[in-house]
C-alpha cells in the first residue's frame, strides 16, 4: 500500500506534514530531542523572539486550571542576536521546517526583526505574534484592532523575503474581521488562536496566583473556542489557516483540519505528553491509511454542515 501523502503548502513552502509545534511550548526544539524525532515533525515554531533580550514577568508565572493552564511568562527570550548565534546552528540541522515567532512593541521593531531574520539561513517562515496578552506594552493593541493588525502585517511583509504567518488573538469580538485585515495586509497565512486572557486567585493569601495578575489560558479547556474561531476564519479568508488551541490527540488535530485548517500547532500538550507532536504525526498517517484516503488534503476543510 502507498504511503499517504501528508505534505501541505503554506506561503509557497512545502511542509512534510501538517503538524507543527506552538511557540513557547517547545523551547528552541533541542529541549524535546530526547522525546521526539524532530525531523518527523512538519515544523517547529520557536519561542517568540524580540530585538533585545527580555526578562519576562516575575514568578509565579504559571498555574494549572481545569483542563488547562495560565501562563504569564511575559515573553522572556534571549533576543535576536543570541537567537541567531546560539539557536539557529542547531535548528538548521534538525531536518524540518523552522518558523520563527517574532514580537515587538513598535512597527519598527517588527520591521527590523523581519529584515534581519530574512537574511538568516535555515528559516522557513515568520510567525508574527500580534496577540500576546502578557506584556503590558505591545501585543494587545496590535491584535485587537483591525487597522493596527493590518499595519503590522504590512510592515513585516514589506521587509521580509520569508512567508509571513500572522498569529491572531482570540480576545476579540470578531476574529474574522482581524483575519481579513491581516490578509489585506499581505499575510501568507494566519495562525490561531493565541491564549485567552484569564486569571486565578489564591483564596488563602487573597492574592493573584500569577505575579502579573492575568495570564494566557491554554490547553484542552480552550479547544472548543479555538475550533470555532478556526472554522469562522477559514470561511472568511482565502489564505491558509493554521489551527492552534488545546490540540492534544490525533482526533483533536483532525477536528481542526476538518474545520478548514491547513496545518495545526501542538502547544500545551507538549508538557502533558512530550511525545504529543510525534504521536499526532503518526496518528494522522494511520488515520489516512485506515480510511483509505490518499492524502491529508482529503481531510482539510472536509466538515459537512448539513
Amino acid at each position: 500500500m502507498n504511503q499517504p501523502d501528508m505534505h501541505i503548502t503554506v506561503g509557497g513552502v512545502v511542509f512534510k506534514n501538517p503538524v507543527l509545534t506552538a511557540s513557547g511550548t517547545f523551547g528552541y526544539g533541542k529541549e524535546f530531542e530526547p522525546y521526539v524525532n524532530l525531523h518527523h515533525l512538519g515544523g517547529v515554531v520557536v519561542k517568540g523572539i524580540s530585538l533585545a533580550p527580555r526578562r519576562g514577568n516575575p514568578p509565579p508565572r504559571i498555574v494549572e486550571t481545569a483542563g488547562g493552564m495560565l501562563n504569564a511568562i511575559g515573553l522572556e527570550n534571549v533576543g535576536l542576536d543570541r537567537f541567531i548565534s546560539e539557536k539557529i546552528p542547531y535548528l538548521k540541522e534538525i531536518g524540518t521546517r523552522v518558523i520563527v515567532n517574532i514580537l515587538g512593541d513598535s512597527l519598527e521593531e517588527y520591521q527590523t526583526l523581519a529584515q534581519r531574520l530574512s537574511e538568516v539561513e535555515g528559516i522557513s517562515g515568520l510567525e508574527v505574534n500580534i496577540s500576546c496578552p502578557n506584556v503590558k506594552k505591545g501585543g494587545v493593541a496590535f491584535g485587537t484592532d483591525p487597522a493596527m493588525a493590518e499595519a503590522v502585517t504590512r510592515a513585516v511583509c514589506t521587509h521580509s523575503t520569508l512567508p509571513v504567518i500572522v498569529k491572531l488573538s482570540p480576545n476579540v469580538t470578531d476574529i474574522s474581521q482581524i483575519a481579513r485585515a491581516v490578509e489585506a495586509g499581505g499575510a501568507q497565512a494566519v495562525s490561531l488562536i493565541n491564549t485567552l486572557l484569564g486569571m486565578a486567585i489564591d483564596v488563602k493569601t487573597r492574592r493573584p496566583r500569577l505575579a502579573n495578575v492575568v495570564g494566557g489560558l491554554s490547553g484542552p479547556a480552550i479547544k472548543p473556542i479555538a475550533l470555532r474561531m478556526v472554522w469562522q476564519v477559514a470561511q472568511a479568508v482565502k489564505i491558509p489557516v493554521i489551527g492552534i488551541g488545546g490540540i492534544t490527540t490525533t482526533e483533536d488535530a483532525l477536528e481542526f483540519l476538518l474545520a478548514g485548517a491547513t496545518a495545526i500547532e501542538v502547544g500545551t500538550a507538549n508538557f502533558v505528553n512530550p511525545r504529543a507532536s510525534q504521536d499526532i504525526v503518526e496518528g494522522l498517517a494511520r488515520y489516512l491509511t485506515d480510511n483509505k484516503l490518499s492524502g491529508i488534503s482529503e481531510v482539510i476543510g472536509g466538515l459537512v454542515v448539513p
Partner: protein, 264 residues
C-alpha cells in the same frame, strides 16, 4: 541530554505515614542515569484532571533498574499517585535538572525538612558509596515523629553515623526548627558543605546560618513547573543580585548554590 520517557512499572507502593507514600518502580533508563538531586516529571493520570505532570525528586535508585519516589498527598495529582498499585504503569520522564555537587567536599551536612528529605536519602547513599568524607551529618525536620515514617532507620541502615531530628511538636528530637540543629551539631572547626531541601522558610534559615559561618550551602528549590525540561520558562526564580535574566529551576537547578538565588 540523557533524558528518557518511560512507562515505569510499579513494583511497590508503601504508605509510610498517614499522608506519605513511597512508590518503587522499574524504569531502567531513568534509574541508571539519575544523580542525587535530580527529579522526574510524572503523569499522574491518563486524563486531563490534573492536566500537567508533577515534579518529584528521585528518592533513591535501586540497582540500575528501579527508582523510588517519596511524596506527600497534598492535592489531586499526589492523591492519584497514592491510589496506584503494583503492576500498574506510570508514565514519567527524566532524570531532569542538576543535582548536588559534592566533588572534593570534606565535611557534608544534609538538612531536610518535610518532603525535602526525599532527595537527601539518595544523596546520603551516594556520599557513603562513592567517597569517605570525614563527616556526614544528617539533620531532619518534620511536624511530628510520625511524618518521618521509617526514614530515621533507613538513614541508619545505609551507614549514616550521625542523624539528628527536630519536630514542631517535640515528638522526636529537638522541639523546634531543624535549622536550629546546625549550631548544635556542626563543629565550626570544619569547613562544612551544607545541602538542604525543604520548605522555603526552613532553607532560608539554613542559608542564613551557613552564611554566618562561611559554610558552603547548596539548596534544592521548588517552583510550579509545567514542562520540567526548560521549554515553558515557567519555573523562573530571581538571581541572587536580583538582576539579569531569571534562573530556571528545572534546568539551572533544582539544586543551586545558595548565593546564586535571591532569598526574599
Amino acid at each position: 541530554m540523557n533524558q528518557f520517557e518511560e512507562q515505569g512499572e510499579i513494583v511497590r507502593q508503601e504508605q509510610l505515614a498517614p499522608e506519605i507514600f513511597r512508590l518503587t518502580l522499574t524504569a531502567p533508563d531513568i534509574a541508571s542515569n539519575a544523580r542525587p538531586g535530580q527529579f522526574v516529571m510524572v503523569r499522574t493520570n491518563p486524563g486531563y484532571d490534573p492536566l500537567l505532570r508533577r515534579p518529584l525528586s528521585i528518592h533513591q535508585t535501586i540497582g540500575n533498574e528501579q527508582l523510588q519516589l517519596m511524596f506527600k498527598v497534598v492535592g489531586k495529582g499526589t492523591r492519584m499517585l497514592a491510589a496506584m498499585s503494583p503492576g500498574q504503569r506510570l508514565n514519567l520522564n527524566g532524570p531532569l535538572g542538576h543535582g548536588f555537587d559534592l566533588a572534593g567536599k570534606q565535611a557534608i551536612c544534609l538538612v531536610g525538612g518535610g518532603m525535602g528529605i526525599a532527595p537527601l536519602y539518595f544523596l546520603a547513599k551516594e556520599i557513603l558509596r562513592t567517597s569517605k568524607p570525614p563527616k556526614c551529618v544528617v539533620l531532619l525536620g518534620a511536624r511530628t515523629a510520625a511524618e518521618f515514617g521509617p526514614l530515621p532507620r533507613d538513614f541508619m541502615d545505609i551507614g549514616v553515623k550521625e542523624t539528628h531530628f527536630a519536630t514542631d511538636d517535640g515528638s522526636l528530637g529537638h522541639h523546634g526548627f531543624v535549622a536550629e540543629l546546625l549550631k548544635h551539631h556542626l563543629d565550626p572547626a570544619n569547613n562544612w558543605t551544607v545541602c538542604t531541601c525543604g520548605p522555603h522558610p526552613m532553607m532560608k534559615a539554613v542559608v542564613k546560618e551557613c552564611r554566618g559561618h562561611g559554610w558552603q550551602c547548596q539548596v534544592s528549590l521548588e517552583t510550579m513547573m509545567a514542562c520540567g525540561i526548560s521549554a515553558c520558562l515557567g519555573c523562573a526564580v530571581p538571581r541572587g543580585d536580583l538582576s539579569g535574566p531569571y534562573l530556571h529551576v528545572c534546568k539551572d537547578g533544582p539544586v543551586f548554590k545558595a548565593e546564586e538565588v535571591a532569598w526574599l
